[in-house]
Symmetry: C2
Subunit: 206 residues, 2 copies
């Protein structure tokens, strides 16, 4: 096993270091975030750093890069308090990745990538019609991360859309059966295969 | 496609709702976090909500549940500023899951699960010897999430240990080749299979 210290890592080329650190923390919940500005012009962007915060209330967090690097989604969420999160499956992962290109403000990634916006009253933001698992959120809070000017965005779930056949008896969603992908680093996409669900761990069980 | 509103979801049984919301946000970077208290007594716990915050400085965030539910890791990090994150592969995933049992304070999950602590000077916290990709962090900040009393814990990477054979030419780490797993919900474990790495997306490419 090789040891790397941060002092070594800091000397690396920026792209090499970016790939290394981005993939070190493991597989991510890659998804498309749909928003619209106050005039209804839609925006779509791929995000991978999405976390579960709690089920009651039902809260999800995601990391938004510094505002200069990724302004449109965050501005729309700040202005409208609304966004959607849409799972990515194999048939749309290339289009999903393409949303990471730097399109000018007001230019719809839906049009550019061929993904289809759909609107569900009363939700302000568009969903991705091709996505098989999608949910809407209302902004709770945008927490600035002072260490590197990123943002931790917290939202509460308001609506969920998915095929009932994906649900286990106990509420678990078999997202692999919808072919939802996971990502690694900034450009790696992966299929998954279930190993198992394990029983609740008890202190006296071994 | 079925529509579920939050008003419906709120009426569900607590466990059903927990499984549903926990799996909705997708695959996670499940890993073991190693800490030790100021007297050096080790603690090990499984965490799945881990995000990449940035590569320069190299920052990772994770979500810690409310302090009543999961006190030991957070207390040790607060007191010592040190922790390690250790990837989980197929051969240790059952032991890793078992660390989620509620053991009494001061009881080492290493002993209880048979995983092996190893210590690397000058790092205060133990690593998991069986883990194939592991890294050490220094605490930067613990941000309380007021909406549900969870915590967003930010650390900077200080040391990384992995087999050099996992590294691509551009710094990308093929963690699937170390059999690192991903998780879904509170109890689902998955293998991954790479589809592809995609080129950097450019605005004029389609």
């Amino acid at each position: 096993m090789e040891k790397f210290t941060i002092d070594q890592i800091k000397t690396w080329d920026r792209f090499y270091r970016g790939n290394f650190i981005n993939s070190l923390s493991g597989f991510k919940s890659v998804s498309l975030i749909g928003t619209a500005n106050s005039e209804g012009i839609p925006n779509l962007a791929i995000f991978s750093n999405i976390v579960h915060l709690g089920a009651d209330p039902a809260l999800i967090g995601f990391i938004n890069r510094p505002i200069e690097a990724a302004p449109h989604t965050l501005e729309n969420i700040r202005d409208t308090k609304s966004y959607t999160i849409n799972h990515i499956h194999f048939d749309i992962y290339k289009q999903a990745h393409q949303t990471s290109a730097k399109y000018p403000k007001g230019c719809s990634e839906f049009e550019k990538t061929g993904l289809t916006p759909i609107w569900q009253t009363p939700i302000h933001s568009p969903f991705v019609a091709e996505s098989r698992i999608r949910y809407a959120l209302q902004l709770e809070e945008i927490i600035p991360i002072r260490q590197n000017n990123t943002f931790f965005v917290i939202g509460s779930i308001t609506h969920v859309f998915l095929d009932k056949a994906l649900l286990d008896k106990d509420g678990f969603i078999n997202i692999d059966q919808a072919n939802s992908l996971t990502s690694l680093g900034i450009d790696g996409y992966y299929r998954t295969e279930i190993i198992s669900r394990l029983p609740y761990a008890k202190a006296n069980s071994n």
